[in-house]
Amino acid sequence: MSDLALRRRGPLSSLLDAVYRRPRLFLAVLLAAPLLWLGVIYLGSLFALLAQSFFSLDDFSGVIVREFTLSTWVQLMAPANLDVIVRTVSMSALVTVADAIMAFPIAYYAARYARGPMKAAFYLLVMMPLWSSYLVKVYAWKLILAREGIDTWVLDKIGLKPLLDWYLSLPVIGGPSLSASYTGTFIVFCYVWLPYMILPVQAALERVPGNLIEASADLGASQGATFRHVILPLAFPGVVAGSIFTFSLTLGDYIIPQIVGGSQYYLGQAVYAQQGTAGNIPLAAAFSVVPILIMGVYLTFARKLGAFDAL
C-alpha cells in the first residue's frame, strides 16, 4: 500500500479529501444526485400530476382547461365513480384479511420451529414467489381458472363439479367461470401479495422472546391461551405492517382485474382509462389522489399500532 499512498495527488483527489473533512458538505455532495432525481424530478412530477385534479376537461373540445376549479372533484363523487372506490377498498380489505390468515401459519412455523437448513429453505420458498415475475404469476392463474383449466378438471375428477357450478351461479361472487368472477380476482390478488404478508409477520414472530412463551406455560396457560394472549398481541404489529403492502398493492393494481375478473372497474383501471382512452388527465389525477389519501390515513393508524417498528 505504501507506493499507493506516495503517489502524487491530483487536484480532484485533494478536493475530495477536503470535502470529506467537512461532514455537512460531504453529506450534501453525497445526497445531491439522489435528491435531485427523486426530490425534484419524481416528487415534482407527482405534485404536478395531483395539481391537475384542480383543472377540468372541456367536454366539447376535449382540451384541458388550466384554471382552478373543483368541478373534477364533483365529477369524482358521481355514484359510478364512488362504486369503483368502494369496490376497490372492499377488495383490498378482504384480500388483506385472507392473506393475514394464510400467512400466519407459514410465518409461525418458520419463526418458531424451522431451524438451520429448514429455515433457509422456508425463507427461499417465500422469497422465490415474491420475486418471480408478476405477469407470469397472473398468467398462471389465468390458465388455472379458465373454464377448461385445471381447477375444473380436478373438481370434475373428485366429483365436486356440481359444487363449482352452484358456486358460480351465486349472485355477486359467481360468474360464467372463475376467471371471470370476483372470486377469481380475489384469489389472484391473495396469491400475488401473500409473500408480502408472510415476511413482516415472520419478522415480528422472530422477535417474540421464547421465555415469555415458557412463562405463560409455567403460569398454567394452555397453548391456545398462550397464543391468544401472548403471541398474537406481540405479532400484531407485524400483521399490520404486512397489511400495508397487501392493502396498498391491491388498491393501485390495474392489471389483475383486467386479466382475471368481470368487467367492473377498479381504481387503477379507472385511472388508466381516464388518462388513456378518455384523455381526461384531471379526472385521472383526482382518482390518483384517492389511494394516496386512503394510504395516508392507513399509515397514520399503522404507525399508532407500532407497525413501523415491525418493518
Binding site: A5, W37, Q52, S132, G252, P291
Partner: protein
C-alpha cells in the same frame, strides 16, 4: 430448547400455504410443453418441445428480450450509483429531514405503480422528452434506487467509520479509500442489491406502459399476449423463460447477502 412440538394443524397449514405459493409456477412449466394450442385444456393431451423452437425463431421475442435486458442493465447501473450515494449519506449521519429523505426513497415503490407511471409520463411530456428507451430507463431507475439503498445501507451501518479514518490517516486519498477499503466491504451487498434491481426492472410492466413509446419490453409483450392472446403456447414458453431469467439473480442475491454477514469492523 423448545419443549413444544408443532401441532399437526399448524404443520399442514404451513405446508399447504407453501404449496399454494408454488404450484401455479409449476403449472406454467407444464403448459409450456403442451401439444394443444387453442385453449387452456388440462391435462395437456400430449407433450412436445415444439414451442421452444417456435419461440426461438421469433424475432419479436428476441427484440423484446434484448431491450428488456439492456434497459435492466442501464437502470441497475444508475440505481447502483444513486442508491449507494444515498446509503452512504443516510447510514450514519443525523440531520434534519433525514426521515423525509428515506421516505422519499421508498415512495416510488410504496405508491401504486400507476401513479408513479402517470406522474413520470406527464413530467417527460412537460420536459419535451420523447418517450423512448431513455425514458423507460429513467422510470426503472427511479424505483430501483430503493432496492440498492436497502441492501447497501445495512452494510454501511456495519462498516466501522474508523476504518475509513485509518485509511485517510495512512495517506490514502478518497479514491483509494473507496476502492480498497469501502468497496471490498460493501461489494457483495451492492452486487445483491444490483441483482434484485435487475430482476425488478426486467419484470416491470406498470411504470413501463407509461414511460415507453413504441418500444416493447418483454413484460409489455407478455401483457399484450395476456390481454389479446394470439399464440398461447409461445406465451407459455416466454413465461418459463422470464421465470428462469429472474430466478438466478434472486438466488444469487440470497447467497451473496447470506455469506456476507461478517464485515471488517462490524463486531465493535
Amino acid at each position: 430448547m423448545r419443549s413444544d412440538e408443532p401441532s399437526l394443524l399448524l404443520k399442514l397449514s404451513a405446508i399447504g400455504g407453501l404449496i399454494f405459493l408454488h404450484w401455479p409456477l409449476a403449472i406454467i412449466v407444464v403448459y409450456a410443453f403442451t401439444t394443444e394450442d387453442k385453449s387452456y385444456q388440462f391435462p395437456p393431451p400430449g407433450l412436445t418441445l415444439h414451442w421452444f423452437s417456435v419461440a426461438w425463431a421469433r424475432p419479436d421475442i428476441w427484440a423484446a428480450l434484448t431491450l428488456s435486458f439492456n434497459v435492466a442493465l442501464v437502470a441497475t447501473g444508475l440505481a447502483l450509483i444513486l442508491g449507494t450515494l444515498a446509503a452512504a449519506a443516510l447510514s450514519r449521519a443525523q440531520f434534519w429531514g433525514r426521515d423525509n429523505v428515506s421516505l422519499l426513497l421508498i415512495l416510488p415503490i410504496a405508491l401504486p405503480g400507476i401513479i408513479t407511471g402517470i406522474a413520470l409520463r406527464s413530467a417527460f411530456n412537460l420536459m419535451d422528452l420523447p418517450y423512448s428507451v431513455f425514458t423507460i430507463v429513467l422510470g426503472h431507475a427511479t424505483f430501483c434506487i430503493v432496492v440498492v439503498y436497502n441492501n447497501a445501507v445495512a452494510r454501511f451501518r456495519r462498516l466501522s467509520p474508523s476504518l475509513v479514518e485509518a485509511s485517510f490517516d495512512l495517506g490514502a486519498d478518497a479514491f483509494q479509500t473507496f476502492r480498497y477499503v469501502v468497496l471490498p466491504n460493501i461489494g457483495t451487498a451492492l452486487l445483491a442489491g444490483g441483482m434484485l434491481a435487475f430482476a425488478l426492472s426486467f419484470d416491470e410492466v406498470i411504470v413501463t406502459t407509461f414511460t415507453a413509446g413504441q418500444q416493447t419490453t418483454l413484460p409489455i409483450w407478455m401483457l399484450n399476449e395476456l390481454v389479446r392472446p394470439r399464440e398461447r403456447p409461445v406465451t407459455n414458453v416466454v413465461a418459463v423463460l422470464v421465470m428462469a431469467v429472474t430466478f438466478f439473480p434472486i438466488l444469487a442475491a440470497y447467497w451473496l447477502t447470506r455469506e456476507g454477514e461478517h464485515v471488517a469492523g462490524g463486531a465493535r
